[in-house]
């Protein structure tokens, strides 16, 4: 009898801790977290508990970031939260794989990607399709 009570208690403790409580309302978040997650203030209360939990953890390092990093963080947060879990997982895999590439090569790739991005933005801004924009 006593043993089963103890078991139940232990199991409750152990299962209870990591799962945490239900969703956290936006208003109850501390100001630091509100600042980090500001782009999501509208939809926050409707996000599933697990995603809230993950986002709060992601925002934990926010106060330590440089202003530039903070800006990127906030700019990308909404797009990030709109991805499906599978997309997010794929992105993580890609990032992990990329960070394993030797620094020198990684720099080269980055350079290429940046140029490509610049071209795209320019095309987008001028409204000229890629095929038509001759490189001269």
């Amino acid at each position: 009898m006593r043993n089963s009570t103890i078991t139940a208690f232990l199991l409750l403790c152990l299962i209870g801790t990591p799962a945490g409580a239900a969703t956290t309302p936006w208003r109850s978040l501390p100001p630091v977290q509100q600042e980090a997650l500001a782009p999501l203030s509208q939809q926050w209360d409707s996000l599933p508990e697990q995603q809230q939990h993950r986002l709060l953890k992601t925002a934990k390092r926010y106060p330590n970031l440089s202003p530039e990093q903070k800006k990127r963080f906030r700019d990308r947060l909404e797009a990030w939260s709109k991805l499906t879990p599978e997309q997010r997982n794929a992105a993580r895999e890609k990032y992990r794989a990329f960070s394993k590439v030797p620094a020198e090569k990684r720099e080269q790739v980055k350079q290429m990607i940046r140029q490509d991005q610049e071209v795209k933005t320019l095309q987008f801004a001028s409204g000229v399709p890629a095929a038509a924009s001759g490189r001269d």
Binding site: N3, I6, T7, L10, L11, L14, I15, T17, P18, H53, R54, K57, T58, A59, K60, R61, Y62, L65, Q69, R72, F73, R76, L77, A79, W80, L83, Q87, R88, A90, A91, R92, K94, Y95, R96, F98, S99, K110, I113, R114, Q117
Partner: protein, 121 residues
């Protein structure tokens, strides 16, 4: 260690006792074959039982550690509970660590100098 000195003719009785003991030993040596065989069978059964219970002790019992082993059903239950608790503890710790690693990765992706689209298909 014969110290019953409070009794008279103690010595002669001790001699008698010794004599009796000698004769009893002789009697024990003269057991009939059936009894000897039955005793051997009993011994083997007992030794068999020991090797059956052996695997339980193999991993966690030494002469100095035998007290660590559960001896009763009660203690077994307690041990199992403890093991389950440790398992759950380990599992939740692992989950915690895993989540933290993911969150760190997410932050890194969000603040990387490469745009998000590079990593998202």
């Amino acid at each position: 260690m014969n110290t019953n000195t409070n009794l008279p003719n103690n010595d002669s009785r001790d001699i008698a006792a010794e004599h009796i003991a000698k004769l009893l030993t002789r009697a024990a040596q003269r057991l009939d074959d059936n009894t000897v065989a039955a005793l051997r069978r009993a011994r083997n059964v007992a030794l068999e039982r020991q090797s059956q219970s052996k695997p339980v002790f193999v991993l966690s019992a030494g002469h100095g550690m035998r007290w660590l082993m559960p001896h009763s059903a009660h203690q077994w239950v307690a041990t199992i509970i403890l093991l389950v608790a440790i398992l759950f503890g380990g599992l939740s710790y692992w989950q915690h660590a895993h989540e933290n690693a993911l969150a760190r990765l997410d932050t890194a992706i969000l603040i990387d100098d490469l745009p998000l689209e590079v990593f998202v298909d």
